[in-house]
Amino acid sequence: MGYKIVLDSFEGPLDLLLSLIEKQKIDIYDIPINVITEQYLDYIEQMEILNLEVTSDFLLMAATLLQIKSKMLLPKVKVEAEEEEEEDPREELVRRLLAYKQFKEAAAKLRNYEEIGLKSFTKPQEDLTQFEEEEVDLGPLDVESLFMTLNRILNKRGLAVEDFDLGAIRRDEYSVKDCTENILRRLEDSRTIKFSQLLRADSSKNEIVAYFLSVLELMKAKTILVEQEYAFADLIIRKNEIGANY
């Protein structure tokens, strides 16, 4: 039934009242409260007949209307001069109706704006990670955050702090095995190398020691021959072409 849809379409009691007033072209500033109250109660009855949920808001308004109606019936009481003038019992209701009407109309206008807005599309942001890490402005940094970070990695990767021992790693990096392999590889490329060529200006003590031990090992294995022109001179390393049994 079409009626139900109409019934259903009110946003609340104020909306319903406004519609009743507008339908009958009643002056909102002079509401015939008897007529309107009757129609309003009729409507509520209809809702109940149709099993529509009548919310407390609608019932509260019904009570308000009945109260105004009864106040209008009372003879005007003379008030004492210093007291405020008596209010029209309808005034508060009219005020509310007008305020509501105002926003209902504003909502209708905004609906047009919305319609336009919903018809335009934006685009997602481009992937900005391509620029990341390049434009970093570094202020003072916090040592604590550095360690928090490290701690997080260790936890995440299941590494123990002991595995992260500084000295162990350094020894590892300059193992005699690595150094030995390196010396042999370098001897593939050139007949002789100087010990100093194995090192860099900032070579650590560990590294120097590792290379020296390698040289000794290789000499022992007769893989290389080492010469020294004079004491403290550079060691000249060459491959031992005959006795190689490394």
Partner: protein, 183 residues
């Protein structure tokens, strides 16, 4: 740099950023005075409209964002790339109108004006990022106060809250009308 080049760079920035980009950010990137940049961007907005470009610049509170033209909606929806946006329910729209014009406003004030509870509508509006909590009022119950977002301005194509359509001036008349009732 000539103005044309600046406009070209701003076009690139707005394109890549996609989201609303503030005048502040543009000025910082270009290392230019804000007022100067503002003049240029406003000029761009007009040019985009005048040239009937397929992209328009949506302004809101000194932010700028590229978007397609509403009048091309029927063409663009053929790309089938996004679900059409849903419009607000009447209840939500009423609530939004009240918040927009009366912000900052509490829920009970909204309820009073509408004559019904507005909890659900407010929730929807917050979900859609059209309304946000502004804080709490320092009075009994410390009620939350609400206001509209920048996204609201953008969706409704308003540069600022001042661009809201004028309310019908009816409330003012009340006092006149009722003033005469009492003798």
């Amino acid at each position: 740099m000539d103005t044309r080049e600046i406009k070209s760079i701003i076009e690139g920035l707005l394109f890549v950023w996609g989201e609303p980009l503030s005048l502040d950010d543009i000025s910082k990137i270009l290392k230019m005075d804000k007022e100067e940049v503002k003049t240029i961007v406003e000029e761009m907005c007009d040019e985009f409209d005048y040239d009937r470009r397929g992209i328009r610049i949506v302004k809101a509170n000194d932010t700028y964002q590229f978007s397609t033209r509403p009048e091309h909606y029927d063409w663009i929806k053929k790309l089938n790339h996004t679900k059409p946006n849903k419009s607000l329910s009447t209840a939500a729209m009423e609530t939004l109108a009240i918040i927009a014009y009366r912000q900052p406003i509490t829920k009970s004030e909204i309820d009073n004006i509408r004559g019904v509870k507005s909890d659900r509508s407010i929730e929807t509006l917050i979900e859609k990022n059209l309304v946000k909590e502004l804080g709490r009022l320092e009075k009994i119950g410390r009620p939350i106060i609400y206001g509209t977002t920048e996204e609201f301005l953008r969706l409704f194509s308003l540069e600022s809250l001042e661009d809201l359509p004028a309310l019908e001036e009816m409330v003012e008349r009340i006092d006149e009308e009722f003033g005469g009732l009492e003798e």
